[in-house]
Subunit: 340 residues, 4 copies
């Protein structure tokens, strides 16, 4: 078989593990041909391809990013769909493995509707893809964020400061919750739970008087104040209505500084959260997903997404996950609070 392969959306650690597994399992186990498209859907539209063999994937397992390149590009807007179909036909692609997040999976769904056999592999450091316990990249992001909080913790303590750390997470607070618990943060703000700045201020005042004169506050970039709360405001959005990195962190820092008088500083982690060598968990997850995707195609199971459930790899129909979001469960949010 000739199987196409692309990585779409924002890059993250673990993509290369999945690419390597697709190539090794595809060539080694079944003798398939694996055709890589460069820069996500853009490469499909442009016909930018590379036939992948063992030499291409040498030493990529521990490397961050994606050796195929990626781009935030939606073929179905701007009439790219015909181009997509033309390229797939020209390259005689029998099935397509799409590694990506919401945007890529959306596009994959559209392409599936045109009759192309699709297997999707979920990746997003935000971990909000529905239907799977884990997506590629999330685990490494939590590691990086926790390491940063560990570092910031010693400064907070030495200087008696409130340190605000903004992490990624537009629609779900997975990184904030996990890194908040792992880093021992006093407050964790997530999109799941709109916050009341006055309650936070009260808590900080009590803590700094009774226990310790420093605090760590972790804020997901998609966190927002509760309607009707003391700090009910519209978070500033970007040109296209998108969340702006640093916006909520800056506002929260300012409010705390002004309301408590405590010396308060902000760190916006930004791009470091999505780069560098993947953790073993992301390498293993990418490897298992890659093997499973090739197995699925070979066995004729398509229009599905590989997923991790109960520590096992399963296949989930694409239509089951379309338009859904996986948010942080109450138990985890509760643990974050209990350990503040």
């Amino acid at each position: 078989m000739r199987i196409g392969l692309l990585t779409g959306g924002g890059d993250c650690p673990g993509l290369n593990a999945a690419i390597r597994a697709v190539v090794k399992q595809g060539l080694g186990e079944y003798g398939h041909q694996i055709i890589g498209f460069r820069n996500g859907w853009k490469g499909v539209v442009d016909g930018d391809v590379v036939q992948l063999d063992r030499a291409n994937i040498r030493n990529i397992l521990p490397q961050g990013g994606t050796m195929l390149g990626t781009a935030r590009f939606h073929p179905h807007s701007a009439g790219g769909m015909e181009q997509v179909m033309a390229t797939l036909e020209a390259e005689r692609i029998e099935a397509l493995i799409c590694i990506g997040g919401d945007g890529t999976l959306n596009a994959a769904q559209k392409v599936a509707e045109e009759g192309i056999k699709i297997v999707a592999i979920p990746k997003t450091i935000d971990n909000d893809v529905y239907g799977t316990d884990l997506s590629i990249g999330y685990h490494t992001a939590v590691n990086i964020a926790t390491e940063a909080i560990d570092r910031i913790h010693t400064t907070a303590e030495s200087h008696n400061r409130v340190m605000v750390v903004e992490v990624m997470g537009r629609h779900a607070g997975w990184i904030a919750s996990a890194a908040g618990i792992a880093g021992g943060a006093e407050v964790v703000l997530t999109p799941e739970e709109p916050f009341d700045i006055e309650k936070i201020v009260k808590f900080l005042r009590h803590r700094h008087k009774a226990h310790a004169n420093f605090s760590i506050i972790v804020v997901a970039e998609g966190a927002a104040p509760a309607k009707g709360s003391a700090m009910d405001f519209e978070v500033q959005l970007g040109q296209y209505g998108e969340i702006i990195a640093g916006a909520i962190g800056e506002r929260v820092s300012k409010e705390i500084q002004e309301r408590t008088g405590f010396d308060t500083r902000l760190t916006v982690l930004g791009h470091v959260q999505r780069g560098g060598t993947p953790t073993p968990t992301d390498r293993i997850l990418g490897s298992r997903f890659g093997v499973a995707a090739v197995d699925a195609i070979t066995q004729g199971q398509t229009n599905v997404m590989t997923a991790l459930r109960n520590d096992e790899i399963v296949l989930v129909p694409l239509e089951e996950i379309a338009g859904k979001l996986k948010t942080v469960p109450d138990e985890l949010l509760r643990v974050a609070k209990a350990l503040a």
Copy 2:
């Protein structure tokens, strides 16, 4: 309530996260008293106790080891059981949280049979405790082993060598499988699958001729040759029939060196696998288990073990897990082979 707390068996990263969570949830949420026993069951027998409060757990979250100390000590052998009961009565302990592996859980089961309310929290870097997807310490051990394999990989490649890495895992090959996949090992040997040295030799000869002239072989310390295979031998055991660190690794290295003529070197990772700062996953797991254990006791659910299943915390009756072992599933062993 007065709740006892101990850590038993070999130490590992993440224990302090669990201790901290027990204390924070116990004191903060319910107003319980938490009585720590030093050095595992030995401290119960000796009446070596410390009442834990917020000051005791300060800054322990990112620290490896256990601030309570631990020991490999079985109270039920050597007639310690009466001493255990005497201490628990003297300290007016209403329930006991035992953080440990097989040995500790066994002892906990015995103590439960004497009428003491028990909640167990599973820890073992071997990850072979039955009934839970993850035990405290395993994840950090995989991280350390993978990092070591990454390091050894560059030497193997620069020197055209076969590098054998022995990792922990007496009865199950969890660390070997996970670190083997994550580190891109060519061969992974586990207790689950007895090996045939001649097949490995054949594979290495083929690989070094066709693809690359170096290889990484990861061996769990409990791996053993298949009965009737070319290298059918008794692995040397210790005084009490226990597995000796380095024994199987040394033998495998020697056989490969002699049979292939390839320059072959052994590294025995040893104690570094169980020390140092825990990964975020182990900190979060310890934190969730600790909170759940206190919740369980408070709600009267005892003689259970906290467990992770399907990414959720559940309680499993102690009797369900007694004497059982969790081994590596076929799918993971298969991925390790597919990506060799």
Copy 3:
């Protein structure tokens, strides 16, 4: 002898190693008493003291920050000098070890002029203290910055982006040069060499056409455009004329994005650069400085700073270093350029 000890200015990794060495050498070798002042000079003014013994310094070697606390506080402004002298007399301090950067050394000089015996230990992640090859904290900061650049590198390459990374360094470009070389940055901007944005733009256009379509630019926060260059502007300063974190990075990103059209992103590393576990180099440097400071006092050599020169510990008179700044030598700047 009764020896005072304080850490002043911004915190950084390695301070605890120095504190531990002062205590161990002071108590163990000579039987001195070591009196710690909390929160730098503020603690001297306030009389906030703690007598340090072995229990205080347990396990602090691998910890970032300072167990004594620190503050940016200048006793000589605001008439604190009399308070300083009063506290030192009340505590019967015979000599004072001051661990700090420019500000602390300045204050130390003033206190020395009042007749107090001083030994200074240099610390600053900026590495610009004159008279020593290395100051405590710099080495760890370079490690953190390099690790961040490594992470950002994989994203730059996967997305074909220009990534701008702003690191610390107000008056000297040590972190930028070192992390720039270690991280393989294409452009390094330092206070030592005012830049011409048009030359950078030209270089990037050439590189992205000829070699690779991504680039990493490392900017020290004190970098500035050359007078009369295409981008001759005043960098925005803070309320007190101080450099604002992010200001130059943001401007450089914007100019490159607009002039080249390349997708350009900024990361401001910020506080993570000064926290967390120190590298072995900073632990060893702190340890050697601490031992040397106590030896110096005991031998009557005071009003000096401990320094590293030619890999040896020497003592430098305080007056020799006052008001001087150590900038990056040409050879290092040249290597950064050669390897772009």
Copy 4:
């Protein structure tokens, strides 16, 4: 000019940084041709060459090992010298850059005597090359060893154990001293200072009674008992009189266990010390040495070794360093003792 380049002896992190710098500076600054020999002197004898350009060195900066390969091979024994000269002539090599340790520098000296222009670059994780403050690879090895000691420390403390850690260092105790200080070891044994096991035992007994019931002992593989001391024995050597990894560590562990009765465990770090991603210091050192080597050749300064002195790059005549060894200075050994 056509410049040859090889890496010889044991591999270590930072070699690729030097290779990259030689290629970038050679091609970019001067338009030289750089001819790489594979697997050290073996490649010169065999005529195994590769012309290096920008594509070859892509992404190698953060990688351990050497992209040219290496081997422990001495051309001057076994009559390889004629072959060496023949290859250099056939390849029209005008000057040769040799990156290596003692063995490689020795061979380089011999080749220089035959009239070939040589510039050597020192590398050895043992750091015992004479004439330079630092050799490539040492710094990363210290980092790895310190990290291992940090991990082992938490286990030692949790289990009340004596942990013995054997690190590399056959003729000099650089890694042992540095990692011993950085890791807070109680005892550091080096080749520089023959030890008396009874004194160590006495110290441990005192410490475990008075202060803490655990200890870390770091042993360089070349450490040996003092003549006439309580444990005066011949350390077991290998077939060719070489030091055997683990030999001294095992003996020291056994003696301590037997003489003190303390639970004592050994970890032999082994090959992990020489692999994996280099620290920034090793990347920068390799980069500076590589640039300096090409500059030296271009300016006609040959038969020299690049060296770091007083934080500056200098050139040292090969004859000045022949047969000399750089051992650990007293001050560093003294600090290790003072902080025990």
